[in-house]
């Protein structure tokens, strides 16, 4: 994990440095992923350059804010709480009081995104992503919400690897030990939502993605229902991991023939 931490801090320092902006803007949920990202950013950029925001809704668990605060205090990052209840309620009261919990949750995630991007403009910084490889693969995130960022240091680490990295980075125990939750509604739990534990999901994903084991071979080893469900989630969420499709007309369509590195001229 020492090498991983070193590579990720170099990644943050170098890719941030190329943009000429030196501040990191992070949404702290009180969970382990954003805590790990906060710790990495403090290592890479110095605590004075790390601005964290806790953005609770009225139903957010009080422990979430307490853990977000604990994380920011532990690593010495700037910390601010901005409630999003008013604008979320104003929207749904006016437009659709019967909206589902999922729609409300997505709206909250996108509201948080706009606040983080607003602060990145105010502070001269970049929004640092907190989506891990497991949730990116399963599509367990909101497109243009928590999935939006300029740089993501942890997107190639499975959730189970995040736990290891969290221990190495000395993330406070209460944050490591609690059950992972998106906290979009009361009592929500990732593992209940997904129907399986992260340990099992990651074991399957490691074979499916890293080893490219065939579906047939996976079904000999894991429960077929489980394999079907995970593969379906990965396929169904492919669009979330890609840029919007551009209808091809010219000889040099953006990203098809017009290919430049992201670090072009920086």
């Amino acid at each position: 994990m020492e090498k991983t931490a070193l590579i990720l801090t170099d990644f943050l320092r170098e890719e941030q440095g190329k943009t000429g902006l030196n501040k990191a803007v992070i949404g702290l949920s009180g969970g382990i992923d954003s805590a790990v990202v906060c710790a990495l950013c403090v290592r890479a950029l110095g605590a004075e350059n790390v601005h964290t925001f806790c953005l609770p809704y009225k139903t957010s668990h009080p422990a979430s804010e307490a853990h977000a605060r604990l994380c920011a205090e532990t690593f010495g990052a700037h910390y601010q709480v901005i409630e999003i209840t008013k604008q979320i309620d104003a929207y749904f009261d006016a437009v659709d009081p019967a909206a589902s919990a999922l729609r409300r949750g997505n709206k909250m995630a996108r509201e948080r995104m706009t606040i983080l991007y607003d602060h990145s403009a105010k502070l001269g910084g970049l929004v640092i992503g907190t989506s891990n490889k497991t949730e990116l693969l399963l599509g367990y995130g909101t497109q243009h919400g928590d999935m939006a960022s300029a740089l993501n240091p942890i997107g190639d680490l499975y959730k189970t690897q995040i736990f290891e990295l969290a221990k190495y980075l000395k993330i406070p125990e209460p944050i490591i030990n609690k059950a992972p939750s998106a906290d979009l509604w009361d009592g929500q739990s990732d593992e209940t939502d997904l129907g399986y534990t992260y340990a099992r999901i990651d074991e399957l994903l490691a074979e499916l993605i890293e080893q490219r084991v065939s579906e047939r071979a996976l079904k000999a080893k894991f429960e077929p229902v489980f394999v079907n469900k995970i593969i379906a989630l990965v396929k169904k969420s492919q669009f979330k991991r890609r840029l919007p499709l551009i209808a091809k007309l010219s000889a040099r369509t953006i990203d098809r023939e017009f290919r430049y590195p992201r670090d072009w001229g920086v």
Binding site: K3, L6, D10, F11, R259, Y260, P261, W264
Partner: protein
């Protein structure tokens, strides 16, 4: 003889900045009494160029001329892009005392996984041996070294030194794979291996460093740090014994390889 391996961090697509970086390293190496300084693959341009390959070819030619001037009083090996007969190559240049002595064009262009080199480059087709300050020498560029036949051909042509330059991205297990490749080339073919990789980050990809020199008995002479820029200065010992005792040098029968390979290839067809 003192040599330098410059494990540098070039800026992607910024040839002026990279020329300044190379110049600084070359002057320091000369001051330190090094006879030869080696830079990584695409050290003048950066690695993940994509469409910038075409944009930067004319500029790369200008900087090659400037580096040739800079090679007065030292020997210099570095990677860049090259235009030849309207084709683009991933190339390595050996310059000596103001003259371009040798060009190697990468033969094996990785186009799998994260690599897309065939999209931008044409492939070279030769592993030539040339006289460098080290003695008979051949150059391999990164993926070339992953095909054992490349080093075998170079050694068969009399190379006693194999310089391998790379822009090798970090991923789990990569350092060990390279160490095995470099050591086995050195040990099996009784050649000195000079491995020069780069450092730095491009588009989220980290280059892992770990440049190293193996002497012709397969022993590690010295290595640079992983994951950061460093210039490694080493004194290269003379080891005639390893070559005299090498069964490859003494007993290898290239005519058998040629005959058998031709028979095998015919039967495959």
């Amino acid at each position: 003889m003192k040599i330098a391996l410059a494990q540098v961090y070039p800026t992607l697509g910024n040839l002026a900045a990279n020329y300044a970086l190379l110049e600084k390293e070359i002057l320091a190496a000369r001051q330190n009494g090094a006879r030869l300084i080696i830079f990584p693959e695409l050290a003048l341009t950066g690695y993940l160029l994509k469409d910038q390959v075409y944009d930067l070819l004319p500029l790369a030619r200008e900087y090659l001329a400037k580096l040739t001037e800079l090679s007065k009083g030292i020997n210099l090996l570095f990677g860049s892009i090259e235009e030849q007969n309207s084709r683009a190559y991933n190339a390595a240049f050996y310059l000596s005392d103001g003259e371009l002595i040798h060009t190697h064009r990468k033969v094996y262009l990785p186009t799998y996984g994260m690599f897309d080199e065939k999209r931008y480059f044409s492939a070279g087709s030769q592993f030539q041996t040339f006289a460098s300050v080290l003695g008979p020498t051949a150059i391999l560029i990164c993926e070339d070294a992953w095909h054992f036949s490349s080093a075998y051909l170079a050694a068969s042509a009399g190379a006693e030194n194999v310089v391998i330059i790379s822009s090798s991205p970090y991923r789990a297990g990569i350092a060990k794979q390279w160490q095995n490749i470099n050591r086995s080339i050195a040990e099996n073919l009784a050649v000195n291996v000079f491995y020069c990789n780069r450092a730095g980050v491009e588009d989220g990809v980290t280059f892992w460093g770990g440049s190293a020199v193996y002497t012709n008995d397969g022993e590690l002479l010295g290595g640079a740090a992983e994951l950061k820029s460093e210039t490694l200065f080493l004194d290269l010992p003379e080891n005639r014994e390893a070559r005299q005792q090498s069964v490859f040098v003494r007993d290898e029968r290239p005519e058998v390889v040629l005959k058998e390979l031709s028979r095998i290839w015919q039967s495959v067809l």
